[in-house]
């Protein structure tokens, strides 16, 4: 007997199913939120400089806030795909073999180089890591960052990726619903905060 819905959805019955409409809405909310906490600091800094140049140090602090806060949010987003947990190197070669069998040739090479498995879906192109995933929406103008992991800390890194990949393939919307949405924003904001070795995966997902 097969089932189309991800069984883990039973653990989050209160969540609305994450579909393309939900993602667009959340993308806009994140965009508006970014403007809301950036513009007031910029305006305050500029006004202080114009009205009382002696307040320049305070104005610079306000402008720095307008830069730092969005950077922190983007850092939080990029962090979902950072390697996490024990490496379990003894079992990693076996796990890498199984993960390689699940991926096509190009995706396998990309995953070995970057640690991220590229997976095209209906919502966009996914990049699946050990404890999170990035979703590049069609057109490549926005990235959604999701925090999600397999509930077994002993798994080697490639098995963690394989767990998420299989769940994603079972039910894409269900996968996005179970995962915690951490950030949405322009790809360049996420890219600059990703570990350098992972950036080619994001470039590939945008193509």
């Amino acid at each position: 007997m097969a089932s189309a819905a991800l069984p883990e959805l039973a653990a989050v019955p209160w969540r609305q199913r994450t579909d393309a409409l939900w993602l667009r809405r959340w993308g806009r909310i994140w965009h508006a939120w970014t403007l809301l906490y950036t513009i007031p600091f910029l305006v305050a800094g500029a006004a202080m400089l114009a009205l009382a140049p002696i307040a320049a140090p305070v104005a610079l602090v306000a402008i720095a806030h307008a830069w730092i806060i969005p950077e922190l949010y983007a850092f939080r987003g990029a962090s979902v795909v950072r390697p996490k947990g024990p490496r379990n190197e003894g079992a990693e070669a076996t796990a890498q073999g199984l993960l390689g069998d699940l991926l096509g040739h190009e995706e396998r090479e990309l995953q070995r180089r970057t640690g991220l498995a590229r997976e095209p879906g209906e919502l966009g192109t996914w990049l699946v890591g050990e404890a999170g995933a990035l979703l590049v929406t069609p057109g490549g103008r926005r990235v959604h960052c999701f925090c999600v992991r397999a509930q077994d800390p002993e798994l080697p890194p490639s098995d963690r990726v394989a767990h998420l990949l299989l769940a994603l393939r079972e039910d894409e919307q269900g996968f996005a619903t179970v995962a915690n949405h951490a950030f949405a924003g322009a790809p360049w904001r996420v890219r600059r905060r990703m570990p350098e070795g992972m950036r080619p995966a994001l470039d590939a997902a945008r193509r």
Partner: protein, 74 residues
Amino acid sequence: MARLIRMDGTGHTTLAEWTAEDDLAFQAAVREFGDQQGLGYIGTVPDGPGKATHVRELPREADLVIMRRPIAGG
């Protein structure tokens, strides 16, 4: 030869193997599948590129069935 494997701390472990004609081996695999479900594992059949199916019973015709742990928002 069809295989039932479990992703675990060793990379993966082969739990059972069967062929369509070997009823005894398939029944042993069905019992193993049920035991793993009892331990909280979820059965998944990879259906080729981009597709996988969650199964609640062991499909006799599948080539590979993978038992995985549940996922959750981190």
